[in-house]
């Protein structure tokens, strides 16, 4: 449905329209006057009969004409007092429902409304429309209360006002004029749910449920009006307003108000909006090391209806720009990724941004930010279970060279190698990972230290071998009935003299470096012995389920797990059920060099402490996990604007899902850019890191829903679709024109016309003139010449 009427009529005093009943007055008088007559004895009945016969139709016409003029005069008089006015049809459409109707205005201030069209934000167009709408509501007296909602504040009204109150209206207009574009996506379903519950219709919805859902009693009206007019001012971005991918219609919450609700969709969208955006930015690793290159992937998407060319992406790391990446033209709807490499030069948190030179009207999505923790080096403790003076027989000689090759090119790892007996005395907190290589079962104290280390975020990589000895000791100390570090229960050593291969069992970062699509991790690797383990499924039957992952299996008939991962606390444990030297395998000698790569990746993987979440999309809440005994429960958050020097303290709550953990939820991150988060430990040390907030990627697709699509989404809800561009921009504040002057003139004209016609119809001279005319010139000459006709003085 759309507005088609150009003009609409309204009345200042509609009750006085009852005066239209005066139209009956002349008719009544007419019929009453026919009952009042004088009796007369008449001689000239001859002429009377002729006249009556001749003038019957004309007389009737004249009488009705005079009667119509009198009725018209009465009607005009009544209309005059009712003070009719005309205004553009758009206004009548928007102001229908009378003063008792409740008016709700929903303004979409989502990021897409910041699109610049002709140098002007689309939101400005909407706020102008809202401003005019409020003006019309105040001018017409068609609303006693207006509630204004924003999509960026979906839980409560942004403003409530009585538009008839000049001060109220001025305040609202002032706030509208300075309304900023938010960085959020529109969440129409959420805000419409709030509206539906805060403004129930008398017969719509379950009031108890509504009250419970509304939550805020202040937003609920004590006496619901009969009808509601909901004006939704938006660009109606498809990704926000149309149902897709299992998401229900944004308008679904309004269905329970269907009986008393009229919806006006006021669209800001004009011509199709062109936009090319940085759609993604991600690093190849979650944690970088100083001096070690990091692969960075930048995604660019063209949301325009035409190809985009001459695009350049500039990547900055801590303010230092890399050479610009040039992209060939992007076809409409195409998304392309560009990869570049950067090398952090200092430890801490690397702030990376990718900026696109698109030159479109939506610059806010032409940049994305990323934060990556940068470690000075990965500290790895290698526990050698089978040291030997001969390097060829030493358990970790090959591993050391794989992880820290000699020469100028480092691996970013700093290794410390100790014997198994030294493990008890070694403080583990300074390491990122511990590698147990063919180590006998550690003491209980060492096992406890290792478990604490892992639970606090450290990584443990275990290689087995002959020195493990009695695996029951391993099972007792490290497996501990499933509560310990060992992911699986060791069963026996299996020998395969001819050697068996190693197969990939799952996609995993630790095995991602091997060629994709192949089962065998390496064609040339052969294992002659390995430990069999209790299948994880059997373990899970006996113990509470633990998230185990088998990353690789031996190519035997049973598919014996070779590489098993188990997260524990903030860290993780990886178990390789064979040796890391040449005792049980040929891997270190494999010609493809996969041993070096695999060892590096495995150690890097376990040594990577999962950082707190550093990258968010606008609208998400800050989420931080703390350790109860380690951190203070308060977190300081400093937003990029408006006062970076004024941090907000957010209290953490106990995480019910994880013992000893504290969870910080919020605040909601509503601004793009860098937030600073500071956590204080119990010992008084402060740990700070940045978090960056990017525009939600779907917001870059500026395609608006069509009328038909919106009508389908609205279903049976009565609605109008109005273009703010067409209807509001040209409509002036004084668009209402009163008609009383015109009606007064018309009324006077009707009365004068009635008098003139009445005089004319009753005028006998006209008949005399017409008779003379019929007599003609000849007749008059004959009369004169004969002199026989003597005209009396009639």
């Amino acid at each position: 449905m759309s507005t088609s009427a150009l003009l609409a009529i309204g009345f200042v005093n509609p009750l006085l329209l009852g005066g239209l009943g005066m139209v009956l007055l002349p008719i009544l008088i007419h019929f009453l006057s026919r009952r009042r007559f004088r009796r007369i004895d008449w001689a000239a009945t001859l002429f009377l009969r002729q006249a009556e016969e001749e003038s019957r139709r004309r007389t009737r016409f004249e009488q009705w004409l005079l009667l119509a003029l009198r009725c018209l005069a009465m009607a005009l008089l009544a209309l005059l007092f009712a003070r009719p006015f005309v205004e553009p049809g758009i206004i009548a459409t928007l102001l229908g429902g009378g003063a008792t109707a409740e008016r709700i205005i929903l303004i979409d201030d989502s990021a897409s409304l910041g699109y610049l069209d002709g140098g002007r934000r689309e939101l400005d167009r909407l706020t102008l429309a809202a401003d005019r709408l409020l003006g019309w509501l105040g001018q017409s007296g068609a609303a006693r209360r207006v509630s204004i909602y924003l999509t960026s504040e979906p839980n409560q009204p942004w403003l409530r006002l009585d538009p008839r109150d000049a001060a109220d209206l001025a305040r609202a207009r002032s706030r509208l004029a300075s309304l900023p574009v938010s960085s959020l996506r529109a969440e129409p379903h959420r805000v419409l749910t709030t509206i539906a519950h805060a403004h129930p219709t008398p017969d719509g919805g379950d009031s108890a449920t509504a009250a419970a859902l509304a939550g805020d009693d202040a937003t609920r009206d004590a006496s619901p009006a009969d009808t509601r007019h909901l004006y939704i001012l938006s660009d109606f971005q498809r990704s926000d307003w149309l149902p897709s991918g299992g998401r229900t219609s944004a308008f679904a919450p309004l269905m329970e108000l269907a009986g008393g609700l009229r919806v006006a969709l006021i669209s800001s969208a004009g011509s199709p909006r062109e936009n090319v955006a940085v759609a993604g930015l991600r690093a190849g690793v979650p944690q970088a090391v100083v001096g070690m290159p990091v692969l960075l992937t930048v995604g660019v998407a063209n949301h325009s209806a035409r190809p985009s060319s001459a695009l350049e992406v500039t990547v900055d790391l801590d303010g230092r720009s890399l050479p610009a990446i040039r992209l060939a033209s992007l076809m409409p709807g195409e998304r392309r990724e560009a990869v570049c490499e950067l090398t952090p030069s200092q430890a801490g948190y690397g702030l990376i941004s990718a900026t696109l030179t698109a030159g479109d009207g939506f610059p806010v999505d032409d940049a994305r930010r990323l934060v990556i923790p940068v470690r000075p080096a990965l500290n790895v403790l290698i526990v050698n279970g089978d040291p030997h003076p001969d390097p060829r027989r030493d358990e970790v000689h090959l591993l050391r060279h794989a992880l820290a090759p000699p020469g100028p090119l480092g691996s970013g790892m700093q290794l410390r190698v100790v014997d198994a007996g030294e493990l008890d005395a070694e403080p583990l907190d300074s390491f990122d990972a511990v590698v147990l290589c063919n180590v006998p079962a550690p003491s209980e104290a060492a096992a406890d230290a290792l478990e604490r280390f892992v639970r606090h975020g450290g990584g443990l990589l275990i290689f087995l071998g002959e020195r493990v000895g009695d695996f029951e000791g391993y099972n007792r100390v490290l497996y501990a009935d499933g509560r310990g570090l060992l992911p699986v229960l060791l069963r026996e050593i299996r020998r395969a003299p001819e050697g068996i291969g190693l197969l990939r069992a799952a996609d995993h970062p630790a095995t991602a470096m091997f060629p994709a699509g192949q089962d065998a991790l390496s064609e040339s690797v052969r294992f002659t012995a390995y430990y069999a383990s209790e299948p994880p499924a059997a373990v899970q039957e006996a113990r509470p389920p633990r998230p185990l992952a088998v990353l690789a299996r031996f190519a035997d008939a049973a598919g014996t797990p070779a590489l098993v991962e188990r997260p524990l606390g903030a860290g993780r444990v990886l178990l390789f059920t064979s040796t890391c030297d040449l005792d049980w395998s040929t891997w270190p000698r494999s010609l493809d060099g996969s041993y070096v790569v695999a060892m590096l990746e495995l150690v890097r993987y376990v040594a990577t402490r999962p950082p707190p979440r550093l990258v968010y999309e606008a609208g998400e809440s800050l989420a931080i996990s703390l350790v109860a005994g380690q951190h203070e429960p308060g977190v300081l958050v400093r937003a990029p604007w408006p006062a970076p020097e004024s941090p907000v303290e957010v209290r953490a709550r106990v995480d019910s899902g994880s013992a000893g953990a504290l969870q910080v939820d919020g605040p909601r991150l509503t601004q793009l850019g860098r937030y600073d988060v500071q956590v204080r430990s119990r010992t008084g040390d402060a740990e700070a890191w940045p978090a960056v907030v990017n525009l939600p990627a779907p917001e870059s697709d500026l395609l608006s829903a069509s009328r038909v699509e919106l009508a389908a989404a609205l279903g049976p809800l009565p609605h109008e679709f109005i273009s703010a561009t067409d209807a509001f921009v040209d409509a002036g504040e004084q668009s209402r024109r009163e008609l009383w002057r015109f009606l007064l003139l018309l009324g006077v004209a009707a009365l004068l016309g009635e008098q003139a016609l009445g005089w004319r119809f009753g005028l006998p001279r006209a008949a005399a003139r017409s008779a003379a005319a019929r007599q003609g010139v000849l007749g008059r000459i004959l009369s004169w010449r004969s002199g026989r006709v003597v005209r009396g003085t009639r």
Binding site: F37, A43, T45, E54, R788, G792
Partner: protein
């Protein structure tokens, strides 16, 4: 008021002094008077010479002119005789209508009749009176002298408007009643079928009478000036019509005009005078005006 004074207004009498009603057609009088006789050549008043044409009576050749001019001219004389005038007065019931503040048509017509009778009597002319409605009610044959005038005034005194007007039969009877050529003054509202009126007037004129038609109607009947709703009830018929006179006025006046025009046409055809009389106008003004206009016009062609 004495009977002779009821319809004879002294003011009218005074205003008629110096006026006369002359016959335009020849009159077949019985004494010498002011009207042209139908008989030529034997009277004493010379009229004119005209050239002799074969067939003329040789007795009227003026031999003196022949002696001087050697041409034959005939001397023509005019005989003046007294006038025989019959006044036909309509006394039908329709004549009883009187507009507000005005005399009834009958009263007006009676005064008109009395005044004309006085005028003619004063001219030594013979005057007769015939009253009629649906029949001839009174017929006083024409005679001259004051006694006759008194008789006529007495008849007028006794006359009352009554009965309906049957013009079709009546006018033919009147035409036959008046055997000798005379001046006929018809005083009537003529409220009858237009065809019957026209035929009747034709018949009167064809009988050689000089007709003067005094069409007397009230101002209400001429103009229908009423403004309020009226229930019209016919005086001579059973009409009952509730109407707004204002809405009928135009058509009504047009119908009156049509009727009047038709009667005028008949009068024009027979060189009769048609005088439309509105009872709103003072009688002396109407009568004197008509007589003055009539006397100022040149006489018509002499008839034989």
């Amino acid at each position: 008021m004495p009977a002779s004074r009821k319809y004879l207004d002294p003011d009218v009498v005074a205003r008629l002094r110096g006026l006369e009603l002359r016959a335009r057609k020849v009159a077949a009088g019985f004494v010498s008077g002011m009207h042209r006789s139908a008989y030529h050549g034997f009277s004493v008043e010379f009229a004119e010479h005209r050239q002799y044409v074969p067939g003329d009576d040789l007795r009227y050749i003026d031999w003196r002119i022949f002696g001087r001019a050697d041409r034959f001219y005939i001397k023509e004389y005019e005989e003046e005789t007294n006038l025989r005038c019959n006044i036909l007065l309509d006394t039908s019931r329709s004549m009883a209508y009187a507009g507000a503040g005005r005399p009834s048509k009958f009263e007006y017509a009676a005064r008109l009749t009395a005044s004309l009778a006085y005028l003619l009597t004063r001219q030594q002319d013979a005057v007769g009176l015939l009253t009629f409605d649906d029949d001839i009610r009174t017929h006083v044959p024409s005679a001259a002298g004051r006694v006759q005038l008194n008789n006529l005034l007495g008849v007028l005194e006794d006359a009352k408007p009554a009965g309906r007007t049957h013009v079709k039969v009546l006018f033919h009877r009147l035409a036959e009643e008046l055997r000798k050529r005379s001046m006929v003054l018809l005083v009537s509202d003529l409220l009858a079928d237009p065809d019957d009126v026209a035929d009747g007037l034709e018949h009167i004129c064809h009988a050689g009478h000089e007709l003067i038609l005094l069409h007397v109607m009230d101002d209400d009947e001429w103009n229908l000036p009423f403004v309020e709703n009226l229930l019209f009830e016919g005086l001579e018929d059973d009409l009952r019509l509730l109407a707004d006179p204002q809405s009928l006025r135009t058509s009504y006046v047009r119908a009156v005009e049509r009727f009047s025009t038709r009667v005028q046409a008949v009068c024009l055809k027979h060189h009769a005078d048609y005088v439309a009389v509105n009872t709103r106008e003072p009688l002396p003004a109407v009568l004197c005006g008509y007589l003055a206009r009539r006397s100022s016009r040149p006489a018509g062609a002499r008839s034989r």
